[in-house]
Amino acid sequence: MATSLIALFLGVFFGFSLNKAGLTKYNKIVNVFRFTDMAVLQFMMTALVVSMSGLYILRGFGLITFPNIPGTYIVGNLVGGLLFGVGMALTGY
């Protein structure tokens, strides 16, 4: 129950930040591939930098342990990414 509430809580803020960054709009998503609006990259990379440094600092203090790190399958990740890009540029979601 508690985990469900945490998931819901985190999801709300996740959706909120996506909406405020404009990532719920077609033009934002497709324009990053046209190099006319870099909001998607700015948003993603900021999130990455913040959480990356935060997580590694917290782990350094021994406050958290990392969950299972997504496995590396060079072909799978790359082919999946290539296909994903097609869908992303097509739909803008």
């Binding site: 985990t3 469900s4 945490i6 998931a7 819901l8 985190l10 999801g11 709300v12 996740f14 959706g15 909120f16 930040s17 996506l18 909406n19 405020k20 960054a21 404009g22 077609y26 033009n27 324009n31 990053v32 591939f33 046209r34 909001a39 700015q42 948003f43 993603m44 990379m45 900021t46 999130a47 990455l48 930098v49 913040v50 959480s51 935060g54 997580l55 917290l58 406050l63 958290i64 969950p67 790190i69 997504p70 590396t72 399958y73 799978g76 990740n77 790359l78 082919v79 999946g80 990414g81 290539l82 296909l83 994903f84 890009g85 097609v86 869908g87 992303m88 540029a89 097509l90 739909t91």
Partner: protein, 181 residues
């Protein structure tokens, strides 16, 4: 205080500010519940649940038994939260178009590129989403589940995925937009 409230009401924030918020959410996800953010997995969990109810033999395979167990998982609840979070975000800037006339196809760029018809948007969204979900299944995650959540743990998979995503995304956008690129 007033400044913060006014900023919350803005339709689009600086992507850096929104990114910091998502970064904090990512940290909290690991800290509070020892799991990662992700969207695409939830749909696979639900599809697995539906599939095992309709055609148990077809869905009785390694993928749905071990990799993506069906059921009402953490990810599904997260996605429900994302739905309402997005709505709250839109409502806070008074851009929520629930039930309004052009709500199904309101993006000016999309209209200019493909036309104003709503059915076109639905068809493209449907088939595009099949590609997206299938690709996320191959790669092991989507933009949020692999690129951001994996990236923040410095997983090599995330960076391979991002490279692939942008390479083919740029090519697809080139094909769609041609001269207007």
């Amino acid at each position: 205080m007033k400044f913060i409230l006014n900023y919350i009401r803005k339709e689009t924030w600086s992507p850096y500010v929104a990114g910091i918020l998502l970064g904090l959410v990512g940290i909290l996800a690991v800290w509070l519940s020892d799991s990662l953010l992700g969207a695409s997995g939830a749909f696979e969990n639900l599809a697995g649940m539906l599939g095992q109810a309709v055609a148990p033999q077809v869905f009785d395979n390694v993928y749905f038994n071990f990799i993506m167990p069906p059921g009402f998982t953490y990810g599904v609840i997260l996605v429900i939260g994302v739905f309402f979070g997005g709505m709250i975000g839109a409502a806070s800037s008074k851009t929520l178009k629930w039930g309004k006339k052009d709500s199904a196809n309101s993006d000016p760029l999309w209209k200019r590129t493909f036309g104003p018809q709503v059915w076109k948007r639905w068809v493209l969204a449907f088939f595009g989403a099949i590609i997206l979900e299938y690709a996320a299944g191959i790669a092991g995650g989507c933009t949020s589940g692999l690129a951001i959540s994996g990236g923040m743990l410095l997983a090599p998979a995330a960076f391979l995925f991002i490279a692939g995503m942008f390479a083919s995304g740029i090519v697809t956008a080139l094909i769609i937009y041609r001269k207007r690129y």
